[in-house]
Structures are given as structure tokens and as C-alpha cells.
């Protein structure tokens, strides 16, 4: 069998970036939540907020650490597998990606240490300030990354000289046409991820009667937040979709499973896209609904996939179904948030085991939604690496063979499996260990902001005492 370096490289990049993305998407939302908790404690002096803030800061430290580890690999991926692309786009992507690194280092050096280790060493106001700066810093980091990605989706502010992109306007390039939509959609996704994870973990504690007062507060707060953010995300997603329709019509056509350009396009709920015959083998849909959503008129014309030649089409089935997974989870999230509102009466939301268990399961859904959303936008622009200008095949490292790509693909899967298994296992131990700070420092441990994991002291292989200490919570 002939190994295709192009396919294997795309698979490798998808794997590495997906694996990496799950950490920052959580920490960005969580950082803001921690800042809010610190703010509430500062204002009300209620100890429950402080306990929550401390607990979630420990979780933040571990997840941030895993994000840093998996991120190191990212900064080399572009060069190893996509060297033609790196060389051609370096005038823009080099500085923009470097600025992300610069932001992250500045953040770690200046504020992360104060947030993680400074609780008893600096005044409370300074500590709160550090928490806010860390939250802002995570957004600035994602700002640069999403600017780079958006520029590849909707390139702007450049001219091509000799196969290389030269920037004519930094402002147009950084704030390219799809940037703000993507930034808003992704920022909201981070909040939702943080919200659902905190809600799920709080529900887990409530199911076990541990730290009831603090976790009730946390869950209540999350449910209010999610009630507003889940529908807001649907609205932002709709605007993002309209922006995509304007700049990348083929992607929207694939999302809708619409092969021929026309009006009264149905909203397909189920379909089996058949790329070979350029049609759907089977479909169930709501008549004219896609036209109404995308153009606000039943007669609205929606572009079809067949507008471009088959070799310039994205993998339709993948885009179509990933989009449905993302939207389906979105509606599920809205449903859970509304159910939370209805169950507030008589405090059912904090007692009903079925609802609490549902919340625990919901922890995985924001991650699935984020990953399927990225598959939609990344696979949906195929075969373009820089949309309309450079294809994946043109961007690939010319010297790369299938064997080399397969070797590192297997290697990265092996390395990341270890990191992921150890990391998630440790995280569950931190959670099971409880919200009380055990603080019996392991011998020799030195707390450093550039080693965020040193902020968590839970042992990894001792027997845990799962102390149900809810009674002395406040």
C-alpha cells in the first residue's frame, strides 16, 4: 500500500491540534471563572467563594500545564510537515504566532505565579488583579492564534511576490474578515466549556454530599450563566455562518449537504452525502428552511457544492456530520440550561439525582462540540490551506515521505496517550481528593509558575482518603 504523506500529515496535524485544543479551550473559560470567584470573595468575604477559587485554581494549574506540554509540539508542526506553507506565509504567521508565545511568557512570568502561589504573600487586591490579568492574558493568547487561523480562512492585507506572502497592511491581515466572528464564537465556546465542567464537577460533589454549600453556589452560578450563554452562542454561530456564506460558500454548501445551487433549499436533518455521484443518497429535511436561515427568505438562493470542480470540494460527509454533531450538542446544552432554570423551584436542581448525573455526563459535550466545530471549519475549507491561494498539497513539505509521516503520527499518538492518560488520571484524583487543600507538601516540591503542576499537591499513587467533609464547609 502506498502511504500518502499528505493524508498522513493532515491526520497528524488534526490529531496534535485537537489534542492540544482541549486544554486551552477549558483554561480560557476557567481563568475568567476564577477571576470572578476572586472578585466575589473580595466583595463579600464569603469563605465559600475562596474555597471554590482555590480548588479551581489547582485544577487550572494542572490543565494549563498539560496545555503547555502539548503546545510545544505545535510550534514545530508547521515546519516539519508544512514547510512550503511555513516558508510562504512566514512574513505573517511568524510574527503572529511568536506574539502568542511572547504573550504567554509574559503572562507566566508576571501574573501566573502570583495567582497560583501568592495567596498568602500578596494583598488580596493584588491577588485579584493577578487573577484578572491571567484571564485577560489567556484571551490575548487566543486572539493571536485565532487571527492566524482566520487569516488562513479569509486571507487579507497581503500581496504575493515570488510565491511568498508579503504583508501590505497589518491591520487588515490581523483583523481579517472572519476574525471577529471566529474570536467571538470560540471565546463563547470557552465560557461554555468552563461552565459545563464546573457545573458537572459541582454536581458530582453534590451527589456525594461533599462541600454542599460551596458547590450549590457554584452550580447555581453556572446554571444562570449557561442559561444566557447557550442561546447567545447559537446567535453568534448563526452570524459566523453568514460570514462563512459570504467568504467560503462551498463550506456552507457542504455543511448543508446542498449539491446544486438553488432556492427553497431544505434544512437537512439526516442525509448520506455521496461525493462520488455528487448527490445525497437519502435525506430527511424541513422544506426551504436552510434558505430561510441563511438568507431570511424561502426563495433565497443557496450555493451548491457542485459550483466547484470535484477536486476542489471538501469531504462533504465529514463536514456535514460534524456540523450536525456540533449543532446537536448546542441544542442539548440549551435544553439542559433551560431544565436547570425550571428545576430551581424548591431547589430540585441541586438535589435531583437524575439532573445532577446528567450534568456530570455533560462535562464531555463542550469538548466534543468544540472539536466537531473545528473539523467543520478546517475540513470545510479543503483543499485550501490558505483559502483560494494555496492548497494543502502545495503547502506540504516536499521531502516528506509517507513512511516518515506515519512514523511520527504513531509516535505522537503514543506520546500524547501517555500524557493524556496520566494527566486526566491525575485530574480526577485532584477532584476526588476534595476541595479542601490538603497542603501536605510533597518533599522537595518547589512551586514555580512555569511549572503550573507544582500548584497541585495531590499525590498521584497514594491511597486517597475520600473525606466527606461537607459539614465543615463554612
Amino acid at each position: 500500500m502506498e502511504l500518502d504523506p499528505l493524508f498522513l500529515s493532515r491526520l497528524q496535524f488534526a490529531f496534535v491540534v485537537s489534542f492540544h485544543a482541549i486544554f486551552p479551550v477549558f483554561t480560557i473559560g476557567l481563568a475568567s471563572y476564577i477571576a470572578v470567584l476572586h472578585g466575589l470573595f473580595y466583595k463579600t468575604a464569603n469563605q465559600a467563594w475562596d474555597r471554590l477559587a482555590q480548588f479551581w485554581t489547582r485544577v487550572f494549574a494542572v490543565v494549563f500545564g498539560m496545555g503547555v506540554v502539548s503546545g510545544i509540539v505545535m510550534s514545530f508542526q508547521f515546519g516539519t510537515n508544512w514547510s512550503n506553507f511555513s516558508y510562504a506565509t512566514s512574513n505573517f504567521l511568524g510574527p503572529v504566532l511568536s506574539y502568542e508565545v511572547v504573550t504567554a511568557f509574559f503572562l507566566e512570568a508576571a501574573f501566573l505565579g502570583v495567582l497560583l502561589f501568592g495567596r498568602h504573600k500578596v494583598p488580596q487586591g493584588v491577588h485579584l488583579f493577578a487573577a484578572i490579568m491571567v484571564a485577560i492574558g489567556t484571551f490575548i493568547s487566543s486572539f493571536w492564534i485565532l487571527s492566524a487561523n482566520s487569516w488562513m480562512q479569509t486571507p487579507a492585507g497581503y500581496e504575493l511576490i515570488d510565491r511568498r506572502f508579503h504583508i501590505t497592511s497589518w491591520l487588515e491581515a490581523i483583523f481579517n474578515p472572519s476574525f471577529w466572528y471566529r474570536f467571538a464564537h470560540m471565546g463563547m465556546a470557552s465560557f461554555l466549556t468552563g461552565g459545563f465542567v464546573v457545573a458537572g464537577v459541582s454536581a458530582w460533589y453534590l451527589l456525594r454530599n461533599r462541600d454542599v454549600e460551596a458547590n450549590k453556589k457554584a452550580l447555581s452560578m453556572c446554571l444562570w450563566l449557561l442559561l444566557f450563554l447557550t442561546p447567545a452562542q447559537a446567535v453568534i454561530g448563526d452570524f459566523h455562518g453568514l460570514n462563512t456564506l459570504e467568504h467560503q460558500p462551498t463550506k456552507v454548501a457542504a455543511m448543508e449537504g446542498n449539491w446544486e445551487t438553488g432556492s427553497n433549499v431544505p434544512l437537512l436533518l439526516f442525509a448520506l452525502p455521496d461525493q462520488e455521484n455528487q448527490t445525497n443518497r437519502f435525506e430527511i429535511g424541513i422544506p426551504s428552511m436552510a434558505s430561510i436561515i441563511l438568507t431570511h427568505s424561502a426563495e433565497g438562493v443557496i450555493p451548491g457544492i457542485s459550483e466547484v470542480a470535484p477536486d476542489e470540494q471538501p469531504p462533504v460527509a465529514l463536514v456535514f456530520w460534524s456540523f450536525r454533531v456540533m449543532v446537536g450538542i448546542g441544542f442539548l446544552m440549551i435544553g439542559v440550561a433551560v431544565a436547570g432554570l425550571l428545576m430551581r423551584r424548591k431547589g430540585h436542581a441541586f438535589k435531583n439525582p437524575l439532573f445532577l448525573k446528567t450534568l456530570v455526563v455533560m462535562i464531555v459535550t463542550p469538548f466534543l462540540a468544540v472539536l466537531s466545530g473545528w473539523i467543520v471549519t478546517e475540513a470545510g475549507r479543503a483543499p485550501w490551506l490558505v483559502y483560494g491561494v494555496m492548497t494543502h498539497a502545495q503547502g506540504l513539505t516536499p521531502s516528506l515521505t509517507g513512511g516518515m509521516a506515519l512514523f511520527t503520527l504513531i509516535g505522537y499518538i503514543a506520546v500524547y496517550s501517555v500524557v493524556f492518560v496520566v494527566g486526566v488520571y491525575y485530574l480526577t484524583r485532584v477532584v476526588r481528593n476534595g476541595m479542601l487543600d490538603d497542603s501536605n507538601e510533597i518533599d522537595g516540591e518547589v512551586e514555580r509558575p512555569k511549572r503550573p503542576l507544582s500548584a497541585a499537591h495531590t499525590p498521584i499513587d497514594d491511597d486517597l482518603v475520600e473525606n466527606a467533609t461537607g459539614a465543615n464547609a463554612s
Partner: protein, 333 residues
């Protein structure tokens, strides 16, 4: 204008590389020495002596990788494809090493496993970096600004030698660092292994010095035909080696480490002097490899902002954690 920027960036990247080599070098070296330590107590001391600083050391690696893409994209887009397998091994080694570093602290029952991962990760990363240096001396097959060689061009007898050489060099840095940071039986052990490591380093140094002009004609002409002043670097490196030996015999504590740093610094300067201004050997200079001037300038603003902060932060960390690490305790504050 563009010429000035390329030189400024060459200085920044060159500075970043030596900072990384020196700073991550000694803690990788301790990892390499790990299985040879006399007992678990010494291993604790070794790890505690780098715990506060090793993380910051790797800052320079990421900063360097990102800086290369922004300032010298040709280097980035030729080296990484050429060193494809080596880069993977290095990253895998560094990741395992980082993970085992963190979890060894949190582990009581399974420390042996984390010890092994720490050693293997450090050794692989050090070897891969040494092989990269060798591959750099050899030069790369580049056509039309693209790497055109094979997957394992970087792995030759010469680069295996430089890989082993850098492992020995890092181990030397690690041992002398340990002399400075420890006391008692741990320090005595470090005193005994340092001369052996020094001999290994000098042996590789000698072979590489004779071999390099043979694998690289440009280097040959520079050393033997044109530029006699260049000989000052190997002479200084040898002087430093002598000083390492003497200071170990006299049981000095700080001097062996400083002199070991000197060996690295002068070898590095000698290497740069053999190639300058070529940055992608054998043909491309720093000006060929540069990104557009406006991109170099844009990025320079950010780096000029962050480098002083990273330096100040680094200096502060080393200052806070100065002094000896005692058996049975970490730094406590």
C-alpha cells in the same frame, strides 16, 4: 535597513540558542547522570537542584522556534524537514522528561518508573540536539529554497559522534552544577565523575575538530586558509578544560561549573565563526534566510519587550534559589 535587522536577529537567535544550550544543558545532563547516582537520596538532591529553574530554561527553546519562523523562515523551513525524525525524538524526549519531572514529586510508590522516564527523555533529547549540531556542520541538500535530502541524512557517523559528544558535554555541565549545588557524599560523587566526563568531552572535541574540516570544505578553508584569529576560540575552550580539571583537584565549588560553561561558550563561538554569515549551510546567508524587513521589525518590537522580562525573571529565580541543596530537603520558603 534590512541588513541591520538581519544582523540584529542573528544576534538575538544566536543568544537564544546559547542560553538554551547552557541552561537546559545542565539539567538534561543531570538526567543523563541519573541512573549512575550512588543512591536515591542523591537523586532527590539532583532533581531538587534544578526544580526551580529547568522549566524556565525551556522557554528559550520555544522562543527560539517561534523567533526562527518569524525572522529566518528559511532556517525553520529547511531544518525542520531535514531533521524531521530527530526533531520528533527530541520533542518526545523533552515531553517525557517534563512529565516525569512533575509526577516524580507527586509519586511515592512508583518513583523508579518516573526515574527511568526522566533518564531516557533527557538522554534522547540531548543526543538529538547533538546530532542537530552535527547535521548543521555537515550542511543540508537544498534546492530552490527547499530541503531536498532524505529522511536520515542527519544521521551519519559524524552526527552520531556529535550526539554522543553533546550528551557527554551536558553530563559535564550537570556534574559541575551538582558540585556547586550539593555537599557531602553527593558532592564527592560529582567530584569523582567530573574528570572522567571531561576526558570524554575532550576526546569527542578532538575527533570532531579533525573531522569537521573534512566533512565541510568551507570550514576547512576558513580555519586553514583565511582567518587565523579564529584559533583563539579552541585555545580558550582548552584553557577552560584545564581549569575545570584543576579546580576539581582543588575541590573548588563554583569554578568547575563556570569553566564548563566556558568550554561550551567558546566552542559555540568557534562554530559560529566557522560558518558566519551562512545560516543554512552550505549556501544561504542570514540575508537569504530573512523574512520581509517589515515582518522582522514587527516581531522585533515584541521580542525587545519580552526578552528583558524573561532575563530579569530568570536572574531573579536563580538569585532566590541560590545556595546549597541539602540531602532530605528541597528549598523551603
Amino acid at each position: 535597513m534590512s541588513i541591520d535587522l538581519a544582523i540584529i536577529w542573528a544576534v538575538i537567535i544566536g543568544f537564544g540558542v546559547i542560553m538554551y544550550v547552557i541552561m537546559d544543558g545542565f539539567d538534561l545532563g543531570l538526567g543523563i547522570l541519573y541512573p549512575f547516582a550512588p543512591d536515591e537520596e542523591s537523586r532527590d538532591v539532583m532533581m531538587n537542584s534544578v526544580a526551580p529553574v529547568w522549566d524556565g530554561n525551556e522557554t528559550w527553546l520555544v522562543l527560539g522556534g517561534a523567533g526562527l519562523l518569524g525572522a529566518f523562515p528559511l532556517v525553520y523551513s529547511v531544518f525542520l524537514p531535514a531533521l524531521y525524525i530527530g526533531v520528533f525524538l527530541m520533542l518526545a524526549g523533552l515531553i517525557f522528561r517534563g512529565i516525569s519531572f512533575e509526577f516524580r514529586f507527586k509519586s511515592h510508590k512508583n518513583r523508579r518508573w518516573w526515574n527511568r522516564a526522566f533518564f531516557l527523555g533527557s538522554a534522547i533529547a540531548a543526543f538529538a540536539q547533538g546530532a542537530v549540531v552535527g547535521a548543521y556542520i555537515q550542511g543540508f541538500t537544498v534546492e530552490d529554497f527547499r530541503y531536498a535530502g532524505g529522511a536520515l541524512d542527519w544521521l551519519t557517523p559524524f552526527t552520531v559522534l556529535t550526539g554522543v559528544g553533546l550528551m557527554a558535554g551536558y553530563a559535564l555541565l550537570g556534574a559541575t552544577w551538582l558540585i556547586m549545588k550539593s555537599e557531602g557524599h553527593v558532592q564527592q560523587w560529582a567530584y569523582t565523575i567530573t574528570p572522567k566526563l571531561l576526558i570524554a568531552v575532550l576526546a569527542v572535541f578532538a575527533i570532531v575538530s579533525i573531522w569537521t574540516p573534512l566533512v565541510s570544505p568551507e570550514v576547512y578553508s576558513r580555519w586553514l586558509d583565511q582567518f587565523r584569529l579564529i584559533w583563539v576560540f579552541p585555545v580558550l575552550a582548552l584553557l577552560c578544560s584545564g581549569m575545570v580539571y584543576r579546580s576539581v583537584k582543588r575541590q573548588n565549588e563554583g569554578l568547575p561549573f563556570v569553566m564548563a560553561l566556558g568550554i561550551f561558550l567558546f566552542t559555540y563561538l568557534g562554530l559560529i565563526a566557522s560558518k558566519w554569515p551562512v545560516i543554512v549551510p552550505p549556501n544561504y546567508t542570514i540575508w537569504d534566510a530573512s523574512s520581509a524587513p517589515e515582518s522582522q521589525l514587527f516581531l522585533l518590537i515584541g521580542f525587545l519587550f519580552v526578552i528583558p522580562i524573561v532575563l530579569a525573571y530568570t536572574a531573579w529565580t536563580y538569585w532566590i534559589f541560590r545556595g546549597k541543596v541539602k540531602v532530605g530537603e528541597g528549598y523551603h520558603h
